[in-house]
Amino acid sequence: MNPFQYVRATKARAAIDARAADANAQFIAGGTNLLDLMKRGVMTPQRLIDINRLPFDRIERQGTGLRIGALALNSTTAEDRQVLERAPLLAQALNAGASAQLRNMATVGGNMLQRTRCPYFYDTALPCNKREPGSGCGALEGINRMHALFGFSDKCIAVHPSDMSVALAALDATVLVSGPKGERRLAFGDLHRLPGDTPERDTNLEPGELITAVEVPDSAFTRHVHYLKVRERASYAFALVSVAAALSLDGTTIKDARLALGGVAHKPWRLLDAEKSLIGKPATEAAFQEAARVAMQGAKAFKHNQYKLKLAPNAIVQALKNAASAA
């Protein structure tokens, strides 16, 4: 770990200015991702701006939705009564992530911005375009069983590891950002980006931009929801593939549907066409199979992640089945 300066911000403006003025500065929230990366030499900020004292930890009702402060803890959010009532899918996704200890430290903002778990990104002795642009993608021809099926480029085939973000993508959340140029709102789907030629950029945030909150609009997805996470042990492992599934049912007919995949792309992978294919259909296995088929169009696997071509559609069907039967 490199030596660094540490400052604690008490005003959002001061934090934003400090960050905008210094390309080598980073915000630190729970630190559960950033500190690990610093210990491995993957990130080497010269200055840490602690944002934990900023007043962004409230979870409250706002207009026709829930407003969750960026500094709300993962654990607090997953247990929040309003979240459980209005966005149970989000609570499920949060609880599927990491461990109880980590969720007690991790923040909602930090969770969105956690970086990929690609082993080539993590080891400074190996090539990685995300860590060191131009050094090559170690995973492309390497050990790529955890890697992407969709939206990758020949510069980067890494996946985004967040569970929470998969649910937020499915729920059409909006990210509230405050930056040097003022405030703006980003549709959740526009927060993360695909790697293209610049995999070093994970998101569309500008330097100095601080996430202050995320808004989850009220929806009909309060009951028939399921977050399915397939992993290599029963708990405390990143997803091989995960599915956020939400149905709004009229009797047995699907009125509306939401579907997103985790562990398959550089960002949470929303499945709009598959959602459409479900609407108006009876909630049967046949309809779920069809949605899974639509969802997988355009998927392409590498040497070691061929299994995901089978696992992802299976997981979609299973998640939809579980959502439909959720009491």
């Binding site: 490199n2 190996l126 170690g138 696992l311």
Partner: protein, 749 residues
Amino acid sequence: MKDQLLQDGKAVGDRMSRVDGRLKVTGGAKYSAEYELPGLVHGALVGSTVAKGRITSIDTKAAERAPGVLAVITHLNSPKVPGFAAKSNPDEPPAIGQPLRVFYDERIYFNDQPIAIVVADTLERARHAAGLVKAQYAAEAHQTNFEANKSKGFLPTQARRNPKSAQNDYTRGQADGYQSAPVKLEAEYWHESEMHHPMELQSIIAHWEAADRLTVYDKVQAVKGTQRAFAKDWGLPEQNVKVIATFVGGAFGNGLHNWPHETAAIIAAKVTGKPVKLMLTREQMFTMVGYRPKTWQRIAMGATKDGKLVGISHDSVGQTSTYEEFTESTVQQTRMMYAAPNVTTRYRILGLDVSTPIWMRGPGEATGAFALESAIDEMAHLIGMDPLEFRLRNHTDTDPEKNRPWSTKYLKECFQAGAERIGWNKRQMKPGSLREGDWLIGYGMGVGTFGANRGAAKARAALLADGTVLLQSATTDIGPGTGTAMVQIASDALGLPTDKIRFELGNSLFPQAPSQGGSSTVNTVGSAVNDACLALKKKLQELGGASFANVQPEQLTLADGQLGLKANGGPRLSFADLRKANNGQDVEVTVESKPSGDARQNYSMYSFSVHFAEVRVHTMTGEVRVTKMVSCADAGTIVNQKTAGSQMSGGAIGGIGMALTEGAVIDDRYGRYVTRDLASYHVPVHADAPPVEVFFVNKPDLLVDPLGTKGIGEIAIIGVAPAITNAIFNATGKRLRELPVTPDKVLLA
């Protein structure tokens, strides 16, 4: 005050809680990195980034200039360890010591080999400066791909030199005689390297108390072996090296060897003249302290249609490094487990450009049992027989390898107890028959065995002025509860309550004891403690004079602060008087205890276990959950049901890791692990651990040692992995022969 002896007067067999339990849970137990020495400084290692080649230059300037840095040591400026000159990549594994000569020359043998140590006043500064050391290499083509090199496996040198070595090829009956059987199968089994990740990271504090006197606080399983190794390396008399390992936070075999980082710390302490603390990082645990080697196995098996084994052939190739021949007894179980007339085993090793493996719990046998017990299950299925019945048909009441009786063998009792407890009668012959929702349910079993070893050890017993007895022996406790068992054994031998007895270990100043390994500590050190206590009692009896002269030693107790008789009445003599008779000194004996030759010549001595697993396999996701396990052991006398039970369930959970989650992966292009932390290398978590029901036969084997113990640590894991994969087959009809069985493998099978 009257002493409370246990009701039946026996401490052995009691579910006594650990003597050091309170210290452990309150943080009072001191592990090797926790000693505070004046002037202590911190070390951090730099690892190579190529797998093979030479260091051509190494730039340490930035590190040297970094704040707080006291020394940067590389092969260019390291003092040469005197003993290194004599070593040159020995082809036999040394009993002690480490053949990799750290900071000796520019050769690189594996990726992440230590090439420098940075010493600084704080840990953070040492680690930061370590990141500033930059080396250039002349890389050479390396080989880390096991599959591609498998055919280059060779017979270990020790076997070539010594025709009696157990590593040689073995045949009984016809070579590959399985071929003549009416029903045959041939199958290959693989498992990835399994890494040592005990909770406590490997750590050492090295302190030169004088130019020729070294003390190390070191995480090792052998304090005496470590003492000898470092004395030899540094050309010192043994008594000038002191090794302390009072508490060890799990070791499972990785502390049975000395590793390069230990010598790196000793060198750094020499150079700086200060005590140096060095703790490996979790990433370095993948490359610097050994692992269960990746292994290929092939079993060919023949049987009659009515379930009699005709022959078994077992071939194995295990990974080792290029600078050391690590071997283990992978094929041993195949030679003695079943009554097959024709058995052939061939064991080879393959040297790759990787670090040296080391024993890991159930070494060799756990690997071998995966292949053998899977093949047994496959054969049972082929001939349409219940696999438990198939094992019973081929059960043997004498050792077919050595043609002699077992000292004891209660495996059938284990079968029966385990089958009842798991509900074996629920198991369906036809795979895929049991289903609950989206989960398929299956049952499987696997048998384990490990030699009931006993070596020589010494123990000291002393009656102190305060009326307590102090025992000492240079063994270690890597977690099983050694001190607790020793106190129980001593209590019975002395007739003194357990709370009046203390057992000290983990210090090279104490009487000689071997490493804690091979499930032999209770057999070996327990026997020494027993003998030392009996000798102490005898000495006290002598000091007691004429009134005790005709008393049978078994009748004597030390309860209530006096030497007396178990029965009421009779002579009594207070400890104070006994000390007086001993010129006011502690009454003290040191005794060596070793197995007598005859029994070991005439009997085969093994512990046995059987593990039963109930699993659920998800039809859509390929996830496997072990929902119940029953582990049964024929391990002789059980000294402590509580700690022994923990050994068994811990082994079962370790076996779940072996079967389902653990496997280290190398990117062969770089010869470097891509699983380098516990987020990518998965050990089982609580949610993976089902209730494990443990059953002990608990019948003494008095041929092994006077206490009748046989050993538990290894058999707790041996046979677990095949029990689980066999259960997966029973649930799904899918035969998984490559560990770990992750969901992708289930799905694509």
